[in-house]
Symmetry: C2
Subunit: 280 residues, 2 copies
């Protein structure tokens, strides 16, 4: 496995892959890897000749300086984790490589970035679409892998790829959960034991939504109220949003007559966690 | 020569080129072709195996509806012109192909798009960077060709390619001029005989700037004043801007101590024309 930190070297490596007609699977990450990331690498391994994993903590997508400062950084350990996974290249560029002095180009979206997390994290998804465009251009993947936990991110990247005519297949892999149901996230490391216990209410609220949907309840206000009451009776938890939206446009639904997504964001102490489930 | 109107078909064609390891030269145009465009095709022909020319009047880069409505449209004649030039593919997509319902992604730049024409044409260059990103992704060129007449556009596209890490070589070809010095432009068709005569003052003002520079005058205010007086004594002409800027950042210079660009935009009747010269 090769670890590359320079864009030009990564590009040269990619040209070698393409020259020998190898397909490239790509899993972009911000590091602090967990089994969710590993599952992306394994999905990619099944479908491609060469696997590239990037580790880049993109400052542009942090709307909150504290969140950026406190985000776990474990490059060395991450590389050891990836080494076990039959990955071909780790791409870990510096900020100076990615955003040199004078950098001035941004990729932005309307509407889809205003929903859900976009409403409470201004600028976040513009940071995501910009860095993903750059990484896609550097790595030149045939397929790129994202986790369903960050559903809005994957919807936005599908739209990005469609709108800008990139020839890349976006694959969304199932959310990986702990035994109690907590979705794996690099931010989970920040939870103390009590908070970790409280965090289980997120998954419970999603199960409640699924139960109600299966019982033919279609009124989203009714479902959201029940989800909300599951969360509200838990200690240390503050609701950021609970929404039921169209699965493509992410626009709020009043009634579920089309494929929908129930999405939850909560603060547990100082940690913001998100999760979602598809209702179909 | 093949004329392709669908993105998917263009993509398939490009994959064939790449599969047989052919290099692709690309000249994006808005049609109403003149000898300036032809010169781009001929430059491209010398350096690439396959030549793609696009004809697409991009609505997103028109800040003025009248300008868009009055922009010359001559697709049939353009195709006949290109047929003489040993071009392999003409790509002429519809607006529905390029911006389908629900389209929401834009590529934007700061600073460099605020200078010169950007100051008076808000949104124009965001339309350019967006459509060029799309066309580059569809056509996958090794080299792309732009005219020096639209100097700011070529500087912006060089920055776009660098910032978003596109592996494309941007070539800027010399401005093609009529005998009197008027730079070729699709908008010249709108000039009547009197206006065409008046338009010669643009080139005269640039020659004046070059003369002064060669005579070791470095104060830009002094040069701009002289350029301005050349234009002001001409009938039917209104100055939009006269600027002397850093050749990369396009920031205004007070004194020419680095490679500089003298750039002019004027209204001649209802037609806005631009031109420039490099001072080095």
């Amino acid at each position: 496995m090769e670890v590359i930190t320079e864009i030009n070297k990564m590009r040269t490596r990619v040209l070698t892959f393409k020259g020998s007609r190898k397909s490239i699977g790509f899993a972009p990450t911000m590091g602090a890897l967990h089994d969710g990331h590993i599952s992306l690498m394994r999905c990619a391994r099944k479908e491609n000749d060469e696997i590239v994993v990037s580790i880049y903590l993109n400052p542009k997508q942090f709307d909150n300086k504290d969140d950026f400062d406190n985000y776990p950084r474990r490059l060395k350990e991450d590389i050891e984790v990836i080494r076990e996974e039959n990955v071909d290249v780790v791409f870990a560029p510096s900020n100076d490589e990615m955003y040199p002095v004078g950098y001035c180009t941004n990729v932005r979206q309307d509407r889809i970035t205003d929903a859900l997390c976009g409403r409470v994290r201004p600028g976040h998804f513009n940071g995501v679409t910009t860095v993903v465009t750059k990484l896609f251009n550097i790595v030149g993947p045939d397929r790129a892998y994202f986790g369903q936990k960050d559903y809005q991110q994957s919807a936005i990247i599908k739209k990005l790829v469609a709108d800008l005519n990139m020839d890349i297949d976006i694959k969304v892999c199932p959310t990986v959960r702990e035994e109690g149901g907590l979705a794996l996230s690099s931010r989970n490391r920040r939870l103390n034991i009590e908070e970790r216990q409280s965090s289980l209410c997120i998954y419970s609220s999603l199960l409640k939504a699924r139960d109600m949907f299966v019982s033919n309840i279609r009124d989203t206000k009714e479902i959201i109220e029940e989800m909300s009451s599951v969360i509200k009776k838990t200690k240390h938890v503050k609701i950021d949003y609970i929404s039921i939206v169209n699965i493509c446009t992410l626009e709020d639904l009043s009634s579920i007559n089309e494929k929908a997504l129930a999405a939850v964001a909560v603060w547990i102490g100082n940690t913001r966690l998100i999760d979602n489930t598809i209702l179909e």
